[in-house]
Symmetry: D2
Subunit: 181 residues, 4 copies
């Protein structure tokens, strides 16, 4: 049974909301993302481009308060803290609600510009007639913000929906960094 | 000479940025707003509707980080703190940049819904060929977020561009409340 | 019946704890404080010294987490925000627990020095055999931190035990400032 | 040459202050602490008691604002985040200033009680005539708060003086956890 697709709303929630954690089968290769268009990069990116590095995916929506106040600032902080040779940070714009008003590339471009986010962001591909975009579906994400940690071998190791503490995600990134290639 | 129209960006700025304060002529009647469409109210509103009350205007843009992290939450806090019989809170969506991607009513509706803002919000009217919308122009606002305090007699008494401390704006609202009608 | 003498503990509490508010009889003159020793002032102070000004008393203990994280920083912010000709800020060290380890003047001096608090602080006088010091008793404070607002005529107008929002206390100070002498 | 013994003061500093980081020789065994008295434990503790675990030492003083607002809450958060079978958290009260007013066990006991810190805390031994207590000296700490990370084999691996980000210390703890015994 699926959990409801809800967006953890707003700042006040973010103090109390416990993340929904998924401990994944360590041997499962992460599905590649299915991206319609990219921003903050001059060419399309795939999981293979980051082999040997830890990958942090932050799935977000522009109109999701929990993403704006928590998920995206944390993604940027991860980008600023770890060397690009060790950790890759990728944003995926996974619009699953208010499709008509937050889907476009120019709006997302203005958003990333104003908030000064510099990591690559892909717009999740939504197939005609579908509510949930493709990457969001393949990863079985339950809403936004969602963080996914992928290890150096391309295996999905952890997935958080909601707010996650810096100490926790920092420790998990550290453990994945320490693993042998 | 006009100051540049800039949007104080993001949360980190908000800690250090001093607001630009305007002490206004106490006898100047506030210009009425010029609103294209309203949200969170079932009828158009005018300054006259609030005579006898203190009015707090929060001018904002959806894509302005300083509005999202500071201005709008403070406006809501003012709404929650003071009785509606004493203080009116009005948002004005004064889009002066990225016009193509943040101007529409449905997008603003989704934004207010997701962030759970319940006070009335008017979309500032922008005349053809103009960059700055009308209310923003009449009030000579320098950017967003801007707070305007209007007294019980409809006179504009204070205007802040940027971050303003709760203690300061709280005190000024208190002083205006204490004034005789 | 008296409420229990408890100290709102710690930072996490401070987010949720509602203050206990007392609306006082507007015609009651504030009791003067009963202070054993003063710091941050070269002479003893009394209520009469501040006639014509709004007085903010912050009652605290060095070993009270809610005072250290909330009450004292707010008192300093009030001191920094309002002119000394309009608002006086007075700290009172009202020790009612752990008497043996937090009562001394040298310890309080080191504390105020390290935290850089510059407003006058009086050590509440505790009579032999009493648990509650004198000023705390006269004001019927229920614990720390407690804020007391006294108007320009020396009348106690409001008393908060616990956390109080900046918007609320700012507004009340503003209203007292606006009152005619 | 020694750096000055200063205590990073207060909350405002904590936002900007960069920690002084020491990358230590990985093969250097950590010096054991030299503790006069223990709190929050029924028996004296030594490094050997935690062999096979990552050890986090938080050196603090009760009257150090940076310790109260940053170091100690972070130590407790580390305690709450990681299993006791993986990570040990030890506080050391390293008084190097205001000796007369913050050294005693009863005061520290009241402090730990009020702030609800439950991890073991040792009072650093100060030899007669010395200003700097023994553990602080052996570790060449430059002030408080100082975090020390010790690996499973008892080697001191990292030392921070000042504010350290949760993401950074989380990652380093994670890397030490991932190392083979």
């Amino acid at each position: 049974m699926r959990m409801p697709w809800t967006c953890p709303n707003g700042y006040s929630d973010s103090r109390t909301l416990q993340p929904v954690v998924r401990n994944l089968n360590m041997f499962e290769a992460a599905p590649d993302w299915t991206v319609r268009e990219w921003l903050n990069t001059d060419r399309p990116l795939s999981l293979q481009d980051f082999q040997g590095k830890v990958i942090v995916i932050e799935a977000f929506q522009m109109l999701c308060p929990g993403c704006v106040s928590h998920g995206l600032p944390l993604a940027q902080k991860i980008r600023d803290t770890f060397g690009a040779d060790q950790v890759a940070v990728i944003g995926i714009h996974t619009v699953f609600e208010h499709h008509d008003v937050q889907g476009g590339k120019p709006a997302l471009e203005a958003f990333l510009h104003e908030y000064r986010y510099r990591f690559p962001v892909g717009i999740d591909l939504r197939n005609e007639g579908e509510r949930i975009p493709a990457t969001m579906g393949h990863y079985e994400m339950q809403g936004t913000p969602t963080f996914v940690l992928i290890d150096k071998k391309g295996r999905r190791r952890r997935q958080y929906f909601g707010m996650v503490s810096e100490l926790v995600i920092g420790s998990e990134i550290g453990q994945l960094i320490a693993e042998p290639l």
